[in-house]
């Protein structure tokens, strides 16, 4: 009886936590425009150049559709679609692509991420927030996942 009561309490607490977390998840705002996308991309490009990294930078709207893209000279060709995929993941799943990477790395139930349609579970996709709402996302690919992520975050941080 005690055990059951305990599990009910724990379960209720977990449910409450999940509910709170859900309520706090940011909503979608208006789509980022080309001007905003250029600013975000410029911030990311500056970060990449400072580190001598060759990357593709993609900016998408809330639906994950492309608004802006640039490929720095000599970036591997595959990064075009990977950057776009990371940006789409961040926009459509409303979270950094690293969250999916971490879920996958956790193993067990986290492996389900592999079955999510359109999910690129690699760091480097970051939602773009304005006034507390998601207005789009940036995706970066070309160097290591951590470096891609650093570049993407530098871009996303340009707008508020």
């Amino acid at each position: 009886m005690k055990k059951i009561l305990l599990s009910v309490v724990v379960g209720a607490a977990a449910y409450a936590l999940a509910t709170v977390a859900y309520a706090q998840a940011p909503g979608y705002g208006p789509d980022i425009n080309l001007d905003g996308a250029k600013k975000v991309a410029a911030g990311a490009a500056a970060e990449a150049r400072n580190n001598k990294w060759t990357v593709v930078i993609a900016v998408v709207d809330t639906h994950g559709e492309l608004v802006y893209l640039e490929r720095l000279d000599d970036t591997q060709v595959a990064s075009v679609n990977i950057a776009l995929g990371k940006a789409r993941t961040a926009a459509r799943f409303k979270r950094p692509s690293k969250a999916l990477q971490d879920a996958l790395a956790g193993g067990g139930a986290g492996l389900r991420v592999l079955q999510l349609e359109g999910a690129v579970a690699v760091e480097g996709g970051q939602p773009i927030m304005m006034d507390g709402k998601i207005v789009g996302a940036i995706g970066v690919s070309g160097v290591t996942a951590e470096q891609d992520g650093q570049t993407a975050r530098a871009g996303a941080a340009v707008v508020k």
């Binding site: 425009n33 080309l34 001007d35 593709v56 709207d61 639906h63 559709e65 492309l66 608004v67 802006y68 893209l69 640039e70 490929r71 720095l72 000279d73 060709v77 075009v80």
Partner: protein, 134 residues
């Protein structure tokens, strides 16, 4: 072995800026895509008011022109002339995509979508013209 020219990001930005200026001048909202000679994106702008469909179509026009080394107008005209087999080719046969040529080499393609197709082509042409002037 031989060497070949390639578009730099600086070239791409020159083309994009000129194409966008042509669109703004005419109050047209379009998507503009620039791709390398393998049909892979180098740069892309979707102006405010252009649709997600425009984004996809611009990329397909630009890719078609880049990999076929011919304008998409050429393919559209072939179909208009009765050559229906072109519909089975891996190109989007709608005016608005142009190859970007340096000397005798195709270095990529530009595709525009958002207004009437001949106007899309006018924007693409303005972009390429800036490359020659730069």
């Amino acid at each position: 072995m031989r060497t070949r020219p390639a578009l730099t990001l600086a070239d791409v930005k020159t083309i994009l800026a000129a194409a966008e200026a042509e669109a703004v001048k005419n109050k047209w909202n379009v998507a503009i895509a620039i791709l390398d000679d393998g049909g892979h994106l180098l740069g892309f702008h979707r102006m405010d008011g252009a649709t997600p469909a425009n984004a996809e179509i611009a990329m397909q026009k630009g890719r078609s022109a880049a990999v076929s080394r011919r304008s998409t107008r050429n393919w559209e005209e072939r179909i208009a002339g009765g050559r229906m087999a072109v519909l089975k080719m891996p190109v989007l046969p709608i005016t608005g995509g142009l190859p970007i040529v340096a000397g005798s080499e195709c270095v990529g393609g530009i595709g525009v979508s958002g207004v009437q197709s001949h106007e899309d082509e006018q924007i693409a042409q303005a972009g390429i013209a800036a490359l020659g002037a730069a």
